[in-house]
Symmetry: C2
Subunit: 394 residues, 2 copies
Amino acid sequence: MTSKQMFVPRGFRFAAGSAAIKKAGRDDIALIVADTPAAAAGVFTRNRVVAAPVVVSAERIASGRCQAVVVNSGNANACTGEQGLKDARRMAALTAASLGIDEALVAVSSTGVIGQPLPMARIEPTIPQLAPKLSEDAWPAVAEAIRTTDSFAKTASRQQDGYSILGLAKGAGMIHPNMATMLAFVLTDAAVEPGLLDTCLRQAVDRSFNAITVDGDTSTNDMVLLLAGGASGRAISEGSEEAGRFAEALQEVLLELARMIVRDGEGATKLVEIQVTGAASEADARLAARAIATSNLVKTAFFGQDANWGRIIAAAGYSGAEVDPGRVRIWFDDVLLADNGLFVGGDSEERATEVLRRDEFTVRVDLGMGTGSFSYHTSDLTFDYVRINAEYRT
Amino acid sequence: MTSKQMFVPRGFRFAAGSAAIKKAGRDDIALIVADTPAAAAGVFTRNRVVAAPVVVSAERIASGRCQAVVVNSGNANACTGEQGLKDARRMAALTAASLGIDEALVAVSSTGVIGQPLPMARIEPTIPQLAPKLSEDAWPAVAEAIRTTDSFAKTASRQQDGYSILGLAKGAGMIHPNMATMLAFVLTDAAVEPGLLDTCLRQAVDRSFNAITVDGDTSTNDMVLLLAGGASGRAISEGSEEAGRFAEALQEVLLELARMIVRDGEGATKLVEIQVTGAASEADARLAARAIATSNLVKTAFFGQDANWGRIIAAAGYSGAEVDPGRVRIWFDDVLLADNGLFVGGDSEERATEVLRRDEFTVRVDLGMGTGSFSYHTSDLTFDYVRINAEYRT
């Protein structure tokens, strides 16, 4: 991950520090600040059990403006009641005070254990220490500080048309100790109005973070924030060709981050794209891809390197999508394994098993019903997944 | 399982034999015959990918009459195209001929590997050997012959009001080698009209086989058949008090079989009832119970004996049910662990961990929104689940 070239948008500064939230000696609190109030858009968890920082940030991002984000790892501030809301607002207020900006321009984000109050006694003195450390180069420290069980920091960027897009994310499926969370902070120095920013973000999330699964659970803390500061001087207007290019680049950044989260999925050894084509509609393609990507049987077969097309066709069958087994074709990369719902025979199984030995491969399922298509990314289900999630406290 | 008293309805005979479908030397084909055509009802898989025997049997059971069921294990006759339909009909025709009855009165059922043609060369000569062996006492041999990876045969019965209900089932989650299947054959010597029989069966399945999960996958071959032969001379009419008692006893038999299937779930070490109460509606209770029972995170926590109420409340939160975390209470058996969405504290976690050491326990989640309630049964997700499903061909 370190060798790739990264493009950092102008007009943002970063800092990280340690509040010893879960353990001492590692950075667990981070700050992202735009030089001036940025246009902002956000996508938040759909879980009805919503963590306090999600409640606070969703309210504030609704204004379309945001200048700073303060994030902590090690504690999700979820299922913490009224005290949790107070603590989230206090984090924002301290951040605003240290930056001399309006409190309403500060978003808050948390990830980690749920059901425990934030250790405010350690967080309160740490926040004011961040502002003096802010620097344009410290974005890797932010990517590090937001990690929980992530085995690597997740960053992606694009540069085009005189502006850059940078994404910093965390997530490894359902996250040790208690809860899944994925967070992503995406920054650009293009100038984009909040309305267009929101549209672009929703589209991009739909085909990236909303099209991955490690174990099918949705966290109480999921949050994707997109800030457009405009420091590049490049303005992007609705309906323009540039807007299309911006949307595309944004989706690329998000998809790159999403694939990293699946690759880093708890216990995962494989990154598999489930590509459904020929569905009666895009909605049907999404249903089928999701069912296949989520099936424990399919995921254990990937782990076992078993070219088990029967489990794949069965998952498509119960997905709710229109499926006529007599029209289904299934490939593992370029190996056709089932045609018209029947096993192809010959050496196709041996060749598909070869594909399954790879770290990354694509399963393509053509339903033969129409032109709808959709892709999900998934991981395999392994002994380590069970170990990580079963043995955490024992 | 062998020590309990079993009640066998009059008017049915049973036989089992070996066609060496998957391996030689064990019974893998079985026959259930009513002395006269019985009233019949059936519930079949909702998977769009439907095995050939399901297609054939659903057509025939629609008439409300059935006299014989021929079942094989070792091969699901699924994803086998036109040949599969021919083979299923041929099994029924051979059975009908050997019994001297109308072919339309014979249902067919299969379970085992999918995507491979039935070995008809071995099945055809075996079927005619079953009729001469038919006996009233051979029902345990049928329960044995329909097993695949089941570690024990599953039977349950009730006797009341002068008639009996006997259920024979198979199922262990998604079944080695390739496919989940649960089959259940339920027989009674009460006289019940097909319409009432169908209503009773659907209600009973709804709260038994449709309220269990091992891994959330739905098989191509699931089938529950209920035959009412009437040999007891006891007639049950719609709307009567007896009808209510019949429906209740039927549900008890099915729930007992369903619990056995979960207990025998692949790799499972625990049988857990997820009881949701206080939901805004029964539909909401079902959504929440299902999400909790299906969550890999919840199931691995059960395996790890981790009283992880955060994963439970999070699963309820994304289930689609109306959830206000501030009203949620969670018990492990009689131990209250979360109240108003907050951790109770004290020694509640230690006491809940004690409950988790048990082989069977109940997690009760009260949503505090209304009076809807629903229960699911689930198993834990273990290393053995992954091993069984990943390593089958390696």
